[in-house]
Each structure stands twice: as structure tokens, then as C-alpha cells.
Symmetry: C2
Subunit: 312 residues, 2 copies
């Protein structure tokens, strides 16, 4: 019997990974927000550097999780983690006792909210290491990488996590189950914490230009994230900074997700990526002046956007 | 006999202080760049919160210092300190043996360039503590403060510095001669180092909004400037940070000079204010991660402006 999957958040990440699960035979429904009518009519057109081009027509395209006409084996939350998005409210109506709740989202220390709201459900934390943008409401462009890391937040039920991994593997994307998904989350933050805010605060530089001109600064920010992760009990690999720098150097020039949100006037994941990191540092008594600078500047940048005072 | 003064750089600072010297009876000529023809025709219209409204018609309005038809007692350089401005070249043609070279400019460690070019002239370092903007090519708006601090860079010739002070006092503006003008320059940097870059990097916030939302961060940056000044042999008053914060709180909401340059597409004083400060810190082995963050971000912001990649 094929798995029933509800993707909540039909942007680049949700559309892309949802399409892979459909390829692997799952029955995939998608809750869309701004692109509902386009996706309802045409589905998604996906173009991947690695997997070719294909169309993905979800079994159901919905406005709300409450409209879902099935019992979900997996509800996969792929929204941004921002103050204007109620992550719990977005999925609650489609969650039953049997539902595994998966969140493929950025940021550190974002588990607690879902754990508190759904204490009896299996929670699977997911991280997408991918360059993937939505170039139109129904167009998804997969530019580089693609690996998904999954990790169950409870020791039991590993079977359901492994089954999800197997579906992704079947569809041709790298996927692994992590024993310490919290550490993996910090690991991803090593890249996100410098490049996301720097792309916005620089006024729109791509990752390559940032790295070519401020590699030392990027490394300092990365080192602070490593220090905080370690203090939180999740030491990261010793070569993680060098690896991140080397990989970024060979990445195609990339506009970060925060920069895309910024240019499109969407809320940015400042709290999930920087705020939670700085708060974890404060809790653990770890000094992190570079991260605090980026966080302070992002808060001012967001304040300016909210108050919308014209520049000239 | 009245003093002969050549103002080089006819923006807000040059026009305002030049007009005061004219009020005090000096023969004032001005070298203008972008606003040459307007000022040549109409002079300046000045509106001061403290001194009323008046018109200032310079004795000569010039395109270049070489066009100056007199022997200058004082050449007062009021340009920005940016990479695209040749400070020495701007004034050289009007400097004679008798000329005292005054520079009313922002930044730290900006003396050396002029000392090397004019080793035999009296050099007077000047600092304007003023909120003063040019609102049109010939319109100057003096919003708050106004104090000028002058300091001779050589022990002798104090008479010429005092005479200049007397002229400013006579015109009704606060002016004092500092025994340690280098320390005064660091003192001004305490305010400039946080507020100038933060106004730009936030996308245009005024000083009040920055202070209301990120006072801790502002204080950290200020503390680093104090640490560097001290290491350079110029300890600042112990209450300088509190004083700056308190004064900024009661200032009218103010767009910094760097923000005005940014919005007008002009070069910014990043090196004079941040670069020189960070380099002094490195020389003295003083840690300054907050300043380094601001500096790195300003360099990226400037890179983005130069490469002019559209945002969307």
C-alpha cells in the first residue's frame, strides 16, 4: 500500500521533495499558499541539474490542511520558519495519531514548538542541503546538491523514518538518516548563519562574491556556530568549516533563501537561523560577537522594511 | 587686515563654516564641485536652528584651488575622506609657505597623508560636531549642535589656530582648541563608528530608531573604539559612551552623513571611519569583532554597489 503524504508549504522545497515522493509511488497532496491556483491547474514544472525535467501533478492541491481527504502517514512541513507563520496551526487539522510529522526547515532549536503541540506523534526533523529556487509559481529550479538528512526525535519508530528515506532514495536523491539530527541541524547552520544574512545585508551579493571578499569574516561566524553547537553538546566535525568553504567555492553563484525572501518582500528566517543561535550561545555562556553583529543588523534591516521609510 | 580663507569642498560643512568665517569678517573663497554653477550664481542659503537664516555669497566661487586669486592664510579642506578624492591634489595649488592647512573631516588617522605632502606647513586638524545637511546644491540646513574642535598638529604656531577659533567664536558658534586633537578625533569616532554604518546597513534607519532598538550593540561598538583609542595612547573620558548615548537620544532623528552619501550614490567614508580604526586595532593588538563585522559588511555593501547587480 502506497504511503499517503501531505506536503504543507508548496514552495521550492515542498514541491521538489514532494515530487520525488510521488515518483517513488507515494500518494502526494500539497497545501499551497500563494501559488494555489497555478499549481491546482498545471502542477509543478521541475527542472533539476541532476534528475532532468518533469511535471509533478499532486494527487490533491489544497488551500488548507483541513481540506485533506485522507489519513496522512506523513505530514511534511516545508514552510519557512518565520514569525508570521503558525507552524502548528498549518498542519494540525491533518495530523492523526498515526501521522509522522516531518519538518524540512531551516534553523536551530525549532523542534520544541512542534514537540509541545504534538507530544504523541513521531517527529522527524529534516534538513535539505540543496540549492533550489522557485522561479515562477509553478516552476522549480534545482541548481545543485539535493541531499536530505532525516532524523527521528524519538528513539522508537525508526522504521517510519527509514521508510521515508527509502522513498527518497528510490526517487534518485541522496538521503540519509542521522543518529544526531540536532547536530546535523547545527551543521547546516554553519553555512546558513554567515551566508544568509550577508547576502541580504550586502544588498544582494551572491555567495561567491561574499566568499571571495570576506572569507575570514565568514570563517569567524562559522567558528562561533561550531563553538555554540559544541557547548550545546553537539560537537561538529573538525573540518566542517574548511569543507563548507571549499563547497561554497565550487557552488554556482547562488542567491540564498533569505535573499530571495528579502527581494520578494517575504519575512526572513532571522530568528530561526540567527536569533535561536545567539540565544543558545547566551544560555551556554559562549561569546559570539560576529553572530550578534549579524543578528543586530538583520533586526535593524527588518525594522526598516516594516517601517518602510523611503530611502531618499 | 582680514584673513584670507579658501574653503575646499563646498558641501554642507564647507559652506556652513565658511559662511561663519565670512560673518566674522574673513575674505572667504570656496572651491565647489557639483554645485559650482548654482553657488556661483546664488551663493548659499543657510538655515540654522540656532543662528537664523542668512545668505552667504563667497568672495570667489571656484572650480579648482588653482583658480584662487590670493595668498591664503587658511586653506580649509572640507571634502569627504574617500578613495575617489585626492585630498592633497585638491588643495596643493593654493598652498603657500604661509598657509595654514585646516582639515574639517571625519575619520581617524587621516593626518599622515597631509603631513607627508606638506611637511613645512602648519596643519590644523578640525572636527565638526554638527548635524548639518545640504538639502539642495545651495541650501544648507543646520539641524543641531555646531561645535568645532581645532587642534594644531605642531606645538608652535598656536597663534594661528587661536585666531581661527576667535573668528568662529565671533560668528556665534562654539569652537575650542584641543590640546590633544588626536584624542578628539577618536572621541568623534565613538559616535561615527556605530551610527554611520548602521544607518546604511539597516537600509536607511535614522539614529533614533537604531538607538531605540540596538542600544547594546551600539555600546559594544563604542567600547571597542574606546579600547583602541586607549591602546593608541589617547584614553577617552570614562563617561564618553553614556554621554554619546544620552545626546543621541535627544537629537532630532538624523540621517548620518554616510547614509546621505549612500542614498545619493556617493562614495562613503568607510575607510576613514572603520578601516583606519580596525587597522589601528590590529596594529595595537586590540580585539574588535563588532567593528570588524561592520567593516566587513560595509565592504560587501560597497562591492554590491560597484558591481551594481540588480536585486530582483
Amino acid at each position: 500500500m502506497s504511503s499517503k503524504v501531505l506536503i504543507v508549504g508548496g514552495g521550492a522545497i515542498g514541491g521538489f521533495y514532494g515530487s520525488l515522493l510521488a515518483k517513488a509511488g507515494a500518494e502526494v497532496a500539497v497545501v499551497c499558499r500563494s501559488n494555489y491556483s497555478t499549481v491546482k491547474q498545471h502542477g509543478y514544472q521541475i527542472e533539476s541539474y541532476a534528475l532532468g525535467k518533469w511535471q509533478f501533478m499532486p494527487g490533491q492541491v489544497l488551500r488548507y490542511a483541513a481540506d485533506y481527504q485522507a489519513q496522512a502517514d506523513y505530514v511534511i512541513l516545508c514552510s519557512k520558519v518565520t514569525a508570521d507563520i503558525d507552524r502548528v496551526g498549518l498542519i494540525r487539522a491533518a495530523v492523526t495519531k498515526q501521522t509522522a510529522i516531518v519538518f524540512i526547515q531551516n534553523g536551530v532549536e525549532i523542534e520544541q514548538e512542534l514537540q509541545q503541540a504534538f507530544p504523541d506523534n513521531l517527529l522527524i526533523s529534516g534538513l535539505a542541503f540543496i540549492c533550489c529556487n522557485r522561479t515562477a509559481p509553478d516552476q522549480i529550479n534545482h541548481l545543485a546538491y539535493g541531499k536530505l538528512t532525516l532524523g527521528s526525535l524519538s528513539a522508537d519508530h525508526v522504521g517510519k523514518t527509514q521508510h521515508l528515506r527509502d522513498l527518497f532514495l528510490q526517487a534518485g536523491i541522496e538521503c540519509l538518516v542521522s543518529d544526531d539530527i540536532i547536530a546535523s541541524r547545527w551543521q547546516k547552520c554553519v553555512w546558513n548563519a554567515p551566508f544568509n544574512p550577508l547576502s541580504v545585508l550586502s544588498g544582494g551579493l551572491a555567495t561567491q562574491a561574499i566568499l571571495q571578499n570576506q572569507e575570514d569574516f565568514v570563517r569567524q561566524v562559522m567558528q562561533e556556530v561550531c563553538n555554540i553547537a559544541q557547548a550545546c553538546g553537539h560537537p561538529l566535525p573538525v573540518d566542517i568549516i574548511d569543507t563548507n568553504i571549499a563547497q561554497t567555492r565550487v557552488m554556482p553563484p547562488y542567491k540564498t533563501s533569505m535573499l530571495l525572501d528579502f527581494t520578494q518582500g517575504h519575512a526572513m528566517e532571522t530568528e530561526a537561523i540567527l536569533g535561536n543561535t545567539v540565544r543558545a550561545a547566551a544560555r551556554q555562556n559562549v561569546d559570539c560577537p560576529y553572530l550578534k553583529s549579524l543578528y543586530a543588523l538583520m533586526l535593524l534591516r527588518e525594522l526598516q522594511i516594516r517601517t518602510n521609510i523611503p530611502l531618499a
